[in-house]
């Protein structure tokens, strides 16, 4: 069961500003959902945007890579997203129950381009070249956008605190 970040009220609290900045930075984005038989699926995201009030997160994926994930989102709205910066291993996970596919905007496309550049630079710091980063990242063609309200957030940086709820 997902517990709301407010501790039980109907409306989740906005995402802490530090985490909002982190997930829009040079992080690997991996999104997951599951089907009606509870079989999970995961796909690499091409970037992320947080709404101005920090209550909504939009993750961008390449539809050609994400067809079953998008089907699952359309069917049940359950989502988990892990964000991890390759050079530091800093990692958090967000979860939501109301994910839905939304129209891709020009700002989304710009975010995916910026994400590719920033993420490639982070990978270069640990020895991967930009061509490799671009092949892995994708997202330079068609995009799909999935928006959700973060209902729970967890620390996942490797170590004994991994899995603990994030503190505001």
């Amino acid at each position: 069961m997902i517990h709301a970040m407010t501790g039980g009220t109907d409306r989740a609290q906005p995402l802490d500003a530090r985490y909002a900045a982190f997930i829009q930075g040079p992080v690997s984005v991996i999104v997951a959902s599951r089907n009606a038989e509870l079989v999970p699926d995961a796909v690499r995201g091409c970037g992320c945007r947080v709404s101005r009030d920090r209550r909504l997160v939009t993750v961008l994926v390449e539809p050609g890579r994400a067809s079953s994930f998008l089907d699952d989102i359309a069917a049940n709205g359950m989502i988990a997203v892990v964000f991890s910066q390759p050079s530091t291993h800093q990692t958090i996970q967000l979860k939501g129950t109301d994910a839905r596919i939304v129209r891709v905007t020009a700002a989304d496309r710009a975010a995916a381009r910026l994400h590719l550049r920033a993420w490639s630079e982070d990978l270069e710091r640990i020895g991967f070249d930009v061509r490799f980063a671009a092949a892995l990242h994708g997202g330079t063609g068609e995009l799909a956008a999935v928006r959700f309200t973060p209902a729970a957030a967890f620390q996942q940086t490797p170590g004994p605190a991994a899995g603990q709820p994030l503190k505001a």
Partner: protein, 183 residues
């Protein structure tokens, strides 16, 4: 070459962490990084169990999971539909993974953080390549790890020095393909 676990061996060397998606019995998905995906045999892989995590809780409730691995040369991504079978907390598989994890931890600056509690063994039910535009792979080595492991098994079976030398010369000739007439 049809996709299979042996063809993905490069993805299991730990250069790039894999990810695993799981789902609790109540239908909440979870996605997490996994430091080590270990080739067990043609139908099984083992994942490092390092922390008492949601992933672990989920696979005990619902054994079906998806693992995504990345080819470290091409950026190609592969999805493994897997089913959790058991956890080994001692024995050859555990010791092998423990040694490899120590190397990965040292490389990643995570010595003391990465500690192996167990080797979670999964059956691989299917493998598929994620659509994309991967780079061209460099030519494969003439002798891969599987071949070397088979050679080591032959050497380990030798009971004395003479049979060890015979086994070594045989292995060099076939499958490694180095002529031994110079001997």
């Amino acid at each position: 070459v049809p996709l299979s676990i042996p063809t993905l061996r490069r993805c299991f060397e730990g250069a790039i962490p894999a990810t695993i998606a799981t789902c609790s019995r109540d239908g909440t998905p979870n996605v997490s990084y996994v430091s080590e995906v270990h080739y067990v045999d043609r139908q099984h892989v083992a994942l490092s169990f390092q922390f008492f995590s949601k992933t672990r809780q989920n696979v005990l409730e619902n054994p079906r999971a998806t693992v995504v691995v990345i080819h470290p040369d091409t950026g190609a991504q592969y999805k493994l539909a897997v089913r959790y079978l058991r956890t080994e907390e001692s024995g050859p598989l555990f010791e092998c993974m423990k040694a490899k994890l120590a190397g990965l931890a040292s490389h990643a600056g995570m010595t003391g953080v990465f500690q192996l509690h167990g080797s979670d063994v999964y059956r691989v039910e299917s493998v598929s390549e994620v659509p994309g535009t991967p780079l061209t792979a460099p030519p494969p080595p003439e002798v891969d790890v599987t071949t070397l492991r088979a050679c080591m098994a032959r050497l380990s079976a030798a009971s004395d020095l003479a049979s060890l030398l015979d086994a070594l010369l045989d292995a060099l000739a076939d499958p490694i393909g180095i002529g031994t007439r110079w001997c």
